[in-house]
């Protein structure tokens, strides 16, 4: 069976950057900050590309919901190997519910056999969009995937759960969300970056898709968490144990 795989990718503050709360207490500073593809989405994309390389998928379509600059993320995705891209343009910071509702419209248009996405965006840390989308589509879901095997119109997925690894079998079409150990994403080579410039990138306006984008959560404020202070360096193990017993009283 060959199918299209849809991969939603989010443009987020790069994972190496320590975010700073903006002075107005409305959010986190993003002006002049390095932005990258959400690391879990790179993994989800890598998995989709591998499925195509193994002959399980015919094409990989990436979609990003965000500002014009999310184009860069989509170009990176095509340089990694996605065949085509869709930008759903909006300047609003949308919640998982609105994102899922927009993705549902794209799914109904593109008819993928699989949506491969990240388990979590590292900015809002919601871990929700894939599950909401699966519910909205009435599709089965396999979250926190560490291994995916496709056969007979089904995906056998190993999932990272609290006590260990769980294996589930879901009929396609389905939503799979990627965990860290699913694969190691490839780097985009220079020739592929050049080639990606010629791949098709379609832009849609989020407002035009007939989806209610009104936020359900009002941000009251965003603040810095209490900082931990650096303590003392001790010279010997005996000194450490002594301090843990008498000063910190944890032993």
């Amino acid at each position: 069976m060959t199918m299209k795989v849809l991969v939603p990718v989010k443009r987020v503050v790069d994972y190496n950057i320590k975010p700073r709360v903006a002075a107005d207490g409305r959010g986190v500073e993003t002006q002049g900050v390095k932005m990258s593809m959400n690391p879990f989405d790179e993994i989800a994309l890598e998995e989709a590309i591998r499925l195509r390389e193994k002959g399980h998928a015919s094409s990989v379509v990436v979609v990003s919901i965000g500002p014009q600059a999310a184009q860069d993320t989509l170009r990176t995705a095509m340089a990694m190997g996605a065949d085509q891209a869709i930008l759903v343009r909006t300047d609003a910071a949308l919640e998982p519910l609105a994102v899922a509702n927009l993705l549902k419209v794209i799914v109904e248009r593109e008819n993928p056999g699989l949506v491969s996405m990240g388990k979590q965006a590292i900015d809002d840390d919601m871990n929700a969009t894939g599950q909401i989308l699966a519910a909205k589509l009435g599709w089965p879901q396999a979250t926190f995937a560490s291994q995916v095997k496709i056969h007979d119109g089904k995906a056998e997925v190993s999932r990272e759960v609290d006590g260990g690894i769980e294996v589930v079998n879901v009929s396609l079409p389905a939503v799979i969300t990627a965990d860290l150990r699913l694969n190691e994403p490839r780097y985009a080579s220079l020739p592929n970056i050049m080639k990606a410039r010629k791949k098709p990138l379609e832009t849609l306006d989020a407002e035009s898709l007939g989806v209610d984008l009104t936020p359900r959560l009002k941000v009251v404020n965003v603040s810095e968490p209490p900082e931990r202070q650096a303590g003392v360096i001790v010279e010997t193990v005996d000194e450490l144990v002594h301090k843990l017993k008498t000063e910190a009283k944890v032993l």
Binding site: Q141, V222, I233
Partner: protein, 303 residues
Amino acid sequence: MTALVLIETEQGTVRQASRSAISAASRFGDVDVILFGDNAENAAKLANVRKVLHVTNLPHLLAEPAAALLATLAENYTHIVSAVSANSKNILPRLAGLLDVQPLTDVIEIKNDDTFVRPIYAGNALATVQSSDRIKVLTVRGSSFDPVAAEGGNAPVETLGAPGGYDKSHFVKVEFSHSDRPELEVARVIISGGKGVKDAGNFQKLLEPIADKLNAAIGASRAAVDAGFAPNEMQVGQTGKVVAPELYIAVGLSGALQHLAGIKDSRVIVAINIDPDAPIFKVADYGIVGDLFDILPALEKAL
């Protein structure tokens, strides 16, 4: 206002994090709990519980039927709550999708019935958000709320069946890594190893004797899990487990942002690292600069 709390058990005992979720939900009013699979005796004894809903025909807690069942119950409640866990993160957002509401993940503080505090950006910022949804669906961090008592209650148990017809997903198997140690989320002491521990054998040889002496849980950095030194459920951090022990001993791990996200609420942090500039020292209450292969055996002796 009435809340429904999805609770989980561990070998028949209600998880401490679930008891914390009940205490968090008590802020909203009466609390009913729903339990899948296990026997419901222990759930009936919990303090602060009005009624136990016991679902007997869904032992493996597949998200599709579980969320569908919760959706049929949801209209009786103002809040649907669970402690953060692999199961709740799988099921509650799906339920939110069915109800068309925006779920809240990882709540650490409840301001009032509709306003909540949750960490964003790996805990580098705290967002206070107000929900306008008619039913609030939220997961709460167990370590942020005191658990209700495990005994003393006497709630009636009502048996329910999950709906059939969800044949698009099947449970195949689960491989639990069994351990007699305390769970990471509730352990009083945790010793965690990183890439610096170098292999799985050292993890056992060096960390376990100390964990035995301190009745500690063992954790790991992502790099240590990726390298196969420790199983995935031991990962501590932004995308692993968030912990808040009295004592956290970080061994041969650098203290990346994503790791710190999971340990910030520990009361006392000890760092053992050969590199004096390792970021872990910036958050550690006590640090020793040196080779873990010398320090750990000495520590074991000194305890």
